[in-house]
């Protein structure tokens, strides 16, 4: 059986750096994470990258693959670099819009800082001595919240968002999506401060509904819809004088 190889360009360095080219054997059902792992184990142990579960539940392995941010453990090589006469070509870079620590690993600090700044923490109103809160799963607000709570902070949407790239202080799709789930949480007591935090040009008003976040979210969430909800909520609050 003739061995097929694939040509892979991998980013080395930080923001300044360059691509290094490797030849990696093609295998059946191979994922991009398999490729990166092969390079680090067999060709260059100095390659820095991040992963954890390898099975599409943790979101740690997100990288930019042929221009798109994706989970590399869930990206099959055959899908993004199909075999042609020369074996196809793969380009792997770190996630965009975040500082590069080295090679394919990025610093997620600002991503989580914006999560906090957007009011992403639940603010309790009851104590252990109170009765349980009764929230029907059919309640419309609860449905809105439930539609967005599966986010695992992988950073793909943040990396795909051009408004994040163009406006440095824009909170971003993940942080705003989380804020929306809490705005719809009947038990939460921090609504006023949260709406204040997500309103304005660093917040929901700057979303232009490109929907790259929705297109690329591996959990099929819809931050644009959540942000549209925040737009309505912040305008209502501003007109009432609450902001």
């Amino acid at each position: 059986m003739s061995e097929q190889t694939i040509t892979v360009d991998i980013w080395r360095g930080k923001e300044e750096g360059g691509f290094q080219t490797f030849q990696v054997p093609r295998l059946a059902s191979q994922t991009v994470l398999d490729i990166v792992t092969y390079v680090q184990r067999n060709l260059d142990p100095g390659l820095s990258y991040r992963f954890a579960c390898r099975v599409g539940v943790c979101g740690s392995c997100a990288m930019t693959v042929n221009g798109k941010p994706r989970w590399t453990c869930r990206t099959h090589v055959d899908k993004v670099a199909p075999e042609t006469g020369s074996g196809g070509k793969l380009t792997i870079q770190p996630l965009k819009n975040l500082p590069v620590i080295r090679d394919l690993a990025v610093d997620m600090t600002e991503f989580f800082e914006k999560w906090t700044r957007a009011g992403g923490q639940f603010v309790p109103t009851k104590t252990r001595n109170d009765d349980f809160a009764e929230v029907s799963p059919n309640d419309p607000a609860r449905k809105q919240a439930s539609a967005g709570i599966e986010c695992i902070n992988c950073g793909v949407c943040y990396s795909a968002c051009d408004t994040v790239a163009w406006l440095g202080d824009y909170l971003g799709p993940a942080a705003l999506n989380r804020a929306w789930t809490l705005v719809n949480d009947a038990r939460d007591g921090g609504q006023k401060a949260r709406l204040q935090a997500v309103g304005g040009s660093s917040g929901c008003q700057s979303c232009h509904s490109h929907q790259s976040c929705h297109e690329l979210c591996p959990k099929h969430l819809n931050p644009t819809a959540s942000i549209a909800g925040l737009k309505r909520a912040t305008v209502k609050a501003a007109l009432k004088g609450d902001i």
Partner: protein, 116 residues
Amino acid sequence: MASARAEILEWFVQRVTGAILAVCVLVHLAVIVYAVQGGVTSKEIVGRVGGSVPWLVFYSVFVVAVALHAPAGLRNILREHTSLGRRQTHWIMAAVCLVILWMGFRAVIGLYGLGA
């Protein structure tokens, strides 16, 4: 925060004027498509809008709506694609708003006056 409130309301004004402009544009496009049949002269334009209060009101609303709508969009473009900051784009916005108001009303009132 005062600036968040101002930015939210500015965004809202852009959306509301957008809705108003949708109506204005539909009317305007219909009129233009009808009017350019067989060519158009200044006399025809004056004949239609000169001295007409309904057209004066319509185009005044149109001009004000554009003056409030367009600068907001321009501001987004400047904030996102140039290194201009909040304050600078604020003043550019105000200037563009005034220019549109001035040039627009000069034309609207001028044309109305010709037929009065």
